[in-house]
């Protein structure tokens, strides 16, 4: 059954398995409504030991894309903080960074979560602050949306009037750009430097914002932690599968009748998730994991479990939970070429292989999609993909290379047709996947 979290003594019950956990209705929950829904954070379960152990045994992994075990991250920061205090290097405490920057253009799950359940995220920040001994906390909202920043600042003010949190949360916005939400770029920005990836080490857990041990977690991860603190790790793992416990928010876009953000038990079959969103027209492929991601062919991939391990076994990745459905009427090579151009333009230009290689890769892809390349173009694309892989300070070049490799394999028949007869008629159609114009976000 669903672990502890008893419905006795007027305390709200834990959501049953199968019930929505994070976004329970399509409007924002005020602080009072939030506490009606979930009950208050139980102070007794927030100590450094209890919560970190709960999160570790829950199996929760980061929901920002990396899928790193959240409990291990918390433990590393807690231990770094203890070491610092023991060394007497000032007991200034560690820092929490809630990452809601969501710079992935096809994803909207973090902004939807923040707009519907801000107090779940803020509870998660409070719980982690108490567990790792943080004295400062930042909530990074995305894209500089002033209305959202105002809304979140109000939510923080509501909590401070109720004297709810020991650590005041500062709402900040991050710069536009695909890389600005990257963990090290975020910390660099908080330290007053350019919002660009850095060459690790040091790891944020050792020395991050303000040179303090820093816990960077995606906002959805924090919302799950807020619920684990209340209802326990067994309750958390009652959804999902043993290898992929819990639920997750996914953003479904493209050729579906009801695109948008859904909460799913991890490990659901891709067919179930797509059916839920209404498959409106014959589809040929799905882009998983966002623009860093991987194409999977349809209908072949319909049985793939939507989880990090399930996607990995299929040669793909769930990333931040993007599932973009490509209709038969679109050209996968043209879509990939546009995304490759976007990724090349988003390169911070710090690392030579990425600065030079990504534009060359995008050019080759555009030549395939819209031009008349010679037969040696496939070898050139493969060579460029290999050349950029693993050679940046961040994973942008690896992501671009992986996306392009998967396109060559999933759209192999189209590729041959393009090489034989030039661009197909579908390549001239309107884009299915959103690619923001440079500087428009």
């Amino acid at each position: 059954m669903h672990g502890y979290g008893p419905a006795s003594a007027g305390r709200p019950a834990a959501p049953e398995p199968g019930e929505l956990r994070l976004i329970v209705r399509d409007q924002p929950l005020s602080l009072a409504e939030h506490i009606d829904q979930y009950g208050p954070l139980p102070a007794a379960r927030l100590g450094p030991k209890a919560l970190i152990e709960d999160v570790e045994s829950s199996g929760l992994t980061g929901r920002g894309g990396g899928a790193f075990p959240a409990g291990r991250k918390m433990r590393a920061v807690a231990e770094a903080g203890t070491r610092d205090t023991a060394k007497g290097s000032a007991a200034k405490g560690s820092v929490i960074v809630a990452n809601g920057s969501e710079s992935e253009p096809a994803s909207s799950k973090d902004s939807v979560l923040l707009s519907r359940a801000p107090h779940l995220v803020l509870d998660g920040i409070a719980a982690c602050a108490s567990a790792v001994g943080a004295t400062r906390a930042y909530l990074c909202a995305g894209h500089g949306d002033p209305a959202q920043v105002h809304f979140l600042t109000e939510a923080v003010a509501e909590r401070s009037r109720a004297a709810l949190d020991k650590v005041r949360v500062e709402v900040v916005t991050v710069a536009r750009g695909y890389l600005s939400g990257q963990e090290n770029a975020l910390i660099s920005a908080l330290n007053g430097n350019a919002p660009l990836p850095t060459f690790v080490p040091p790891r944020p857990a050792e020395r991050g914002a303000h040179r303090r041990p820093t816990l960077v977690l995606n906002v959805e991860t924090l919302a799950h932690i807020a619920l684990i603190a209340r209802f326990g790790s067994h309750w958390f793992a009652a959804a999902g599968t043993p290898g992929a416990p819990g639920s997750a928010l996914v953003t479904v876009t493209g050729a579906v009748e009801r695109p948008g953000v859904r909460e799913i038990p991890l490990g659901s079959a891709l067919s179930d998730v797509l059916q839920h969103c209404g498959v409106s027209q014959p589809a040929q492929a799905v882009l998983t994991g966002g623009y860093f991601g991987t194409w999977l062919p349809l209908p072949a991939a319909l049985a793939v479990p939507v989880s990090h391990e399930g996607m990995r076994a299929a040669g793909a990745a769930l990333g931040p939970g993007v599932l973009a459905v490509l209709p038969e009427a679109a050209c996968g090579l043209a879509e990939t070429a546009r995304i490759a151009s976007f990724l090349a333009a988003e390169s911070a230009g710090q690392c030579g292989p990425c600065r030079n290689g990504l534009p060359a890769l995008a050019d080759a892809l555009n030549w395939i999609a819209f031009g008349r390349p010679g037969p040696d173009i496939i070898g050139r694309v493969q060579q460029l993909a290999d050349l950029v892989t693993g050679r940046g300070a961040c994973h942008l070049p690896d992501g671009a290379a992986g996306l392009v490799r998967s396109a060559l394999s999933v759209f192999a028949a189209d590729l041959q047709a393009h090489l034989r007869a030039g661009p197909c008629a579908r390549a001239g159609g309107p884009p299915v996947l959103p690619v923001p114009a440079r500087g428009s976000r």
Partner: protein, 83 residues
């Protein structure tokens, strides 16, 4: 090669053997490392170093240290893996 008393052979690769790494942000494609250590470092089409993965063999470690010292942007590093 002589056999050690415990039956193992000498000069086996050890976990402590250093590896070359390049800080891609600091690297400016000056190319000195490629000239000094062609055994382990080659140039990509844009002049940036491609480092052969794996530990640096003992007989090349002196040259590797020289290449590290010669890098004008301090981008090349010889790192001993922990353990």
């Amino acid at each position: 090669m002589r056999t050690d008393p415990d039956g193992g052979t000498r000069h086996q690769p050890q976990a402590q053997e250093p590896e070359l790494r390049v800080n891609p942000i600091a690297c400016d494609a000056r190319g000195l490392c490629i000239e000094l250590l062609p055994e382990l470092i080659s140039a990509d089409p844009w002049g940036y170093p491609i480092i052969r993965p794996g530990p640096v063999p003992l007989q090349l470690q002196q040259l590797a240290r020289r290449a590290v010292a010669a890098c004008p942007t301090l981008a090349l590093m010889l790192i001993s893996p922990p353990g």
